[in-house]
């Protein structure tokens, strides 16, 4: 126990004192602070991350159909755009002026309900085309309805009718939870990936620097790998805790400025149970993967071998992540495959987590999944110690899978 604690402390402090670790944590903290403090110092409550100055777009409207009153209505509706209205020219001249960058875009109206939109590059969020279409349609409707003797007021009343919708969510609000689950899934995946890989690399490092020669003769391999895995895991938790506390603090300070922000709902309102599940699944998922990755690292003689050796293990993590994310996006979080994956230990940290936060997984199901995970960790832990014992004294080219199995059987 004393020996385990010595390894645990050494590995944990290694991380906490590591410059890259400190830098990364600080960098994430700064990013959170920027997001949280931005609205306080900017006029807009919404964060639109525009890099560089954006020019006001200009639009050439070429009305070849001579629609009555169109100029006024377009200019009054599209206030953010610098509009030039003309009845002269044709489609080619409009094209030419866009190509020559005289205007950002151009609309050639050929009949009251038909137009051509000319733009150099169609942006992802360019809504000009739709806006013009809507304006033309409603303007046409207004004119036609006036012909039937309706007054302007009556027409406006009709066209602004809305349906008042009230929805009551009895179960889970998947839309609201999607963002939360997505963010926490990302955190889970990245931390397991990064910290697991670090465990493997540290083991390989000790081997290639031959510090292992001394470690193995001074300590029980069981204590070495358990101390290393848990020490690294707690360093990960420490980092998450620092970021979490910092995030809560930043949001709390800027609560009044953030309340209307889109970002606010994205980064706040995590329920306590979600946070607890995140920590539980991080720890368990990390332990499962870190044991295996540590064992794989023990078979590498050089750092370059680590990637090849850990790949088969990483594949499980990546598949678990990709499948879970795609089920989350499809909204069909309770279908067959994801149910199976939520009990399979290598994918359950992500799949069950997603089902809990988005789907309808019950507490009992969550507990069953967690118990399976814990049993698997114990099994994988023992397997990892066995591989580690063999691996750390093996030099030369990394062993093949069947060689490992044979060596394990002999034990």
């Amino acid at each position: 126990m004393k020996q385990f604690l010595a390894v645990f402390k050494f590995e944990y402090l290694n991380f906490i004192k590591n410059k890259i670790f400190i830098f990364l944590t600080a960098a994430i903290a700064v990013i959170i602070a920027v997001i949280a403090f931005y609205p306080r110092f900017s006029s807009s409550t919404d964060i639109s991350l525009n890099f560089g100055k954006q020019e006001t777009p200009s639009l050439l409207v070429m009305d070849k159909a001579n629609v009555i009153g169109l100029e006024e209505i377009i200019k009054s509706t599209l206030k953010d755009i610098d509009i030039t209205f003309t009845t002269d020219g044709d489609e080619n001249s409009a094209k030419l002026s866009v190509e020559n960058k005289e205007y950002s875009s151009a609309v050639v109206i050929t009949s009251p309900l038909e137009y051509t939109y000319i733009v150099e590059n169609l942006g992802l969020y360019d809504t000009t085309e739709q806006n013009i279409g809507n304006i033309l349609l409603s303007h046409y409707k207004t004119i036609e309805l006036q012909k039937y003797g309706l007054s302007m007021e009556e027409i406006v009343d009709f066209s602004t009718l809305t349906v008042k919708a009230n929805s009551v969510i009895v179960g889970q609000d998947q839309a609201q939870n999607f963002m939360h689950a997505y963010i926490l899934m990302m955190v889970l995946y990245i931390t397991v990936l990064v910290y697991g890989q670090i465990v493997a690399q540290n083991v390989a490092n000790e081997k290639s620097s031959r510090a292992m020669e001394l470690l193995i003769t001074s300590a029980d391999p069981k204590n070495l790998i358990f101390g290393k895995v848990l020490g690294t895991g707690f360093a990960g938790l420490t980092q998450m805790a620092i970021i979490l506390v910092w995030g809560i603090l930043c949001v709390a300070i800027n609560k009044d400025y953030l309340i209307d922000s889109n970002m606010f709902s994205m980064f706040t309102g995590f329920s306590a149970s979600m946070i607890i599940y995140t920590i539980v699944f991080f720890l368990l998922g990390f332990l499962l993967y870190a044991f295996l990755l540590g064992a794989m690292g023990s078979m590498a003689s050089k750092l370059e071998d680590v990637g090849t050796l850990t790949m088969p293990v990483m594949i499980f993590l990546i598949i678990g992540f990709v499948v879970t994310i795609s089920f989350m996006s499809s909204g069909n979080i309770d279908s067959g495959l994801i149910k199976i994956l939520s009990y399979f230990p290598f994918t359950s940290p992500m799949a069950m987590f997603a089902r809990i936060s988005m789907g309808t997984a019950t507490t009992i199901q969550a507990i069953i999944s967690i118990v399976i995970l814990i049993i698997s960790i114990v099994g994988v832990g023992y397997l990892a110690v066995a591989i580690y014992r063999i691996g750390i004294l093996m030099y030369g080219k990394p062993p093949k899978f069947n060689e490992i199995v044979r060596a394990l059987k002999k034990k």
Partner: protein
């Protein structure tokens, strides 16, 4: 205490690395462990340290099977290994902690060794900033920091300059004088002869020779006499006389004449034959094999 290795065998896969090894050594003495590369020395050491279990046989300490958690063993591996990127004192304290030594004790033990090895100024720098010789000294501190009862030194002198080597020699002599049990493995025979009363030579996983160095040497035929002289030709001529039937062969190399007698009890008659040449002789002695020659004789041609 007395360490005893009893009929230990070990195989890796199809390869039998150790084939029934037995030997023993005791506190206050150094045992020289010799063998060519791949002879099984490191495997033997690892079995003693409990890293591997023996397939057959066992290791006992004072008659009871050895439990490595009850006895402190200091090990200087042939493949030097510490953390290159970590501060020296920090990792020394860690290695001591693994052996159950408290931080304060570890630091004070290390301080003494730093002083003894004259590298006090490097306590708190990264290991990889040190020269090879100094790194080796740090490795030795890691070996001795827990004040072990058994010290295993695998090639401790490689890469050290003569000044550092003599520094290390003093430390090894102190260890023996302090009553430590020292296992010493090296290919530099002069060091072995300097520290070890007993040796064992491993070859092909078996002990091909073991025992007290002096006795081993005395065990060789003592019928070759070595004579040193400024005028070797004169002496050679005088002895190359057919009437001296007890002389089998005379030859010289440089200033040294080698006289092979038919029997080692013919030395009196040789001295009589040399009686008139006494003034020309600088030195006369029985030629003993060097440890090097013995080693080569027992390990040549096979592993």
């Amino acid at each position: 205490m007395a360490l005893s290795v009893n009929n230990v065998s070990k195989s890796f896969g199809d390869k039998q690395v150790l084939k029934g090894i037995s030997f023993s050594c005791e506190s206050g003495k150094a045992l020289g462990l010799l063998g060519r590369n791949g002879a099984g020395k490191t495997t033997m050491i690892r079995i003693i340290m409990g890293v591997f279990n023996a397939d057959n046989g066992n290791v006992t300490l004072d008659g009871v099977p050895m439990n490595t958690s009850n006895v402190k063993i200091g090990y200087l591996p042939e493949e030097r290994g510490l953390y290159p990127k970590k501060k020296i004192m920090e990792q020394l304290v860690y290695f001591a902690a693994l052996q159950g030594i408290e931080r304060q004790t570890a630091i004070s033990n290390a301080d003494k060794l730093f002083k003894k090895l004259q590298i006090e100024e490097y306590k708190n720098v990264r290991l990889d900033t040190l020269s090879k010789g100094n790194q080796q000294k740090v490795q030795l501190i890691a070996t001795l920091i827990a004040n072990p009862d058994i010290v295993i030194l695998d090639e401790p002198f490689s890469g050290l300059d003569p000044v550092n080597a003599s520094l290390l020699k003093d430390i090894v002599k102190d260890l023996i004088a302090d009553g430590k049990l020292v296992l010493f493995s090296s290919h530099q025979m002069n060091y072995i002869e300097e520290f070890c009363d007993d040796i064992l030579i491993l070859n092909g996983g078996q002990i091909v020779l073991s025992g007290n160095i002096k006795n081993i040497k005395r065990g060789y035929a003592r019928n070759i006499i070595e004579i040193k002289s400024e005028k070797p030709q004169n002496i050679t001529d005088a002895l190359s006389n057919d009437t001296l039937a007890f002389i089998k062969r005379v030859a010289f190399e440089g200033n040294t004449i080698f006289v092979t007698l038919t029997d080692e009890n013919e030395k009196n008659r040789l001295l009589e034959a040399l009686s008139t040449l006494g003034n020309q002789i600088d030195e006369i002695k029985v030629k003993e094999p060097t440890l090097n020659e013995i080693f080569v004789q027992f390990t040549e041609g096979q592993i």
